[in-house]
């Protein structure tokens, strides 16, 4: 089931005018900010489908940037986010794409601060303010953003998954959803793990120190 809570239907509390184009967009922006881990400087936002056609009218642009500034869906600074980002010296470019995507409300956020560490996230807004992250740095995934999650970049080797889950077991962390994605056999892969509670830095450090693990980031609701 795509929707699990009554508060996906009655809610969220938000700044208008559109749950999919404003609240959903703000949420995708905020997940990107969260995964990137700090305030981005140079941002390119590609909009597809209905997002590309109507983003100005719906305030999708201010909402995405509001999310990238770490504003929640009900933050009254959202209408001013473009000015706020400018004052902070951030650059934001919007591109209206023609390509047809699987979902009509699709956005790709690329942060181009450092050539060596590219960041690219694709999110979709599926209605009522609910979102899914469908791609991160070229890895396909399916994250709701509703639960705390950890993303583990690792080498595609036997035992690397068991190593991570063993650490979670040691700290009595329950996994609600998990997926593994790789581009090529034996190369770099990504584990996306949704858990029931927020994780301590200590646990993340322990996972990062395991063999074959390259990087661990956390995403909090």
């Amino acid at each position: 089931m795509k929707y699990k809570s009554v508060f996906d239907i009655i809610g969220p509390i938000m700044i208008g005018p559109s749950s999919s184009h404003t609240a959903g967009a703000a949420k995708i922006g905020r997940v990107a900010r969260n995964l990137y881990g700090k305030e981005p400087k140079n941002i390119v936002i590609s909009l597809y489908g209905s997002f590309a056609k109507t983003y100005r009218g719906h305030g999708t642009d201010v909402a995405l940037v509001g999310g990238l500034l770490d504003f929640d869906t009900f933050d009254e600074r959202i209408p001013e986010s473009l000015n706020i980002s400018k004052d902070k010296g951030m650059t934001v470019e919007f591109i209206e794409e023609d390509a047809i995507t699987e979902h009509p409300n699709t956005v790709k956020i690329s942060i181009q601060d450092d050539e060596n560490q590219p960041f690219e996230l694709v999110g979709i807004s599926i209605g009522g303010g609910k979102i899914e992250i469908v791609e991160l740095n070229g890895f396909e995934l399916k994250l709701s953003g509703n639960y705390p999650a950890i993303l583990v970049v690792h080498n595609d080797r036997y035992g690397s998954i068991a190593g991570v889950t063993n650490v979670l077991m040691k700290y009595a962390v329950n996994i609600g959803h998990m997926e593994v994605s790789r581009k090529e056999v034996g190369q770099i892969a990504l584990m996306a793990i949704e858990v029931d509670q927020d994780l301590d830095e200590k646990i993340l450090k322990e996972i990062e120190s395991l063999p074959h693990i390259i990087r661990v980031t956390k995403m909090v609701d």
Binding site: M1, K2, Y3, K4, S5, V6, F7, D8, I9, I10, G11, P12, I13, M14, I15, G16, P17, S18, S19, S20, H21, T22, A23, G49, S50, K53, T54, Y55, R56, G57, H58, G59, F74, E76, I78, P79, H103, P104, N105, I126, G127, G128, G129, D196
Partner: protein
């Protein structure tokens, strides 16, 4: 746990409880939240809805000037007492309009189930409140029952205008409101389902064609009629009228209609009212773009 309306009604009737109670139990099971947490969180939504209605009735205008002030006009008209369609009906309509005018003005609202359709559920709730004097708890139950029906639609069909047209947004909102009105007025869970079915049947095929892509024209007035539709359908169900097509089949029909709806009529501002000469003119004026795009 329920996956469709038939199961929801069956659960409520076999346990002899309200639909809102089934929703609470499922929420506890799915999210691990306690009953108190759920009621408290819903109370916060109720407070936001109440404030939005108040703000809209005091008069707001959107930045584009396309919408605003209609809730005030309607309240003044009601006060004169010469209305033809009835006090509570028009009160619901004005409060639905009030909420959506606040939404268009980038004010704070609670999506029910979306922002574009946020007026219908609170509009009808705060109108029937005047007549039935419900407790705060009953008002929270109203939202939970609306949510239970919306939950089924969102999982089995769609509540997104971009995916399924306005029938998925205002259509779903109207059905949710109708079902909740029946419950707060003392109707049975089956009658709630009938009210939902009757309402949504009358919204099937409704396209999403916002002028300039803004959640203003015709969204505000569609919320008005969504509220009216919900009030009338609730009265019909309370009178004992049933839908020949079962509720879940109506929801499925809505889903399939949405899938076959052309993209121009699904929130792209390319067809319908958005593509009328006046719609295009307004768009050109607001965004300072050429008429030929």
């Amino acid at each position: 746990m329920f996956k469709n309306v038939a199961e929801l009604v069956e659960l409520a009737e076999s346990k002899n409880v309200k639909i809102s109670e089934i929703m609470i139990q499922q929420e506890m099971l799915f999210t691990g939240r306690s009953r108190e947490e759920i009621l408290e969180k819903m109370e916060q939504n109720l407070v936001v809805m109440e404030k939005a209605v108040e703000r809209g009735l005091a008069g707001v205008h959107s930045p584009t000037g396309l919408t605003g002030g209609d809730a005030v006009l309607l309240q003044r008209y009601i006060e004169k007492g010469n209305m033809l369609s009835g006090h509570f009906l028009l009160d619901a309509v004005s409060k639905a309009v009030a909420t959506n005018e606040v939404n268009a003005a980038m004010g704070t609202i609670c999506a029910t189930p979306t922002a574009g359709s946020a007026g219908v559920v609170p509009g009808t709730l705060f109108a029937v409140k005047e007549k039935l004097n419900p407790t705060r708890m009953q008002m929270i139950e109203f939202l939970l029952t609306s949510g239970a029906f919306g939950f089924v639609v969102a999982n089995n069909a769609s509540i997104s205008g971009a995916a399924g047209g306005c029938q998925a947004e205002v259509g779903s909102a109207s059905g949710m409101a109708a079902a909740a009105i029946v419950e707060i007025a003392g109707g049975t869970p089956s009658q709630s389902a009938e009210a939902f079915a009757i309402t949504l049947k009358n919204m099937l095929g409704l396209v999403c064609d916002p002028v300039a892509g803004l959640v203003e024209v015709p969204c505000v007035k569609r919320n008005a009629m969504g509220a009216a539709n919900a009030m009338v359908a609730a009265d019909m169900a309370l009178a004992g009228i049933t839908s020949r097509i079962p509720c879940d089949e109506v929801i499925d029909a809505m889903y399939r209609i949405g899938q076959t709806m052309p993209s121009a009529l699904r929130e792209t501002a390319e067809g319908g009212l958005a593509a009328t000469p006046t719609g295009r003119e307004l768009e050109a004026k607001i965004f300072g773009v050429s008429l030929k795009k």
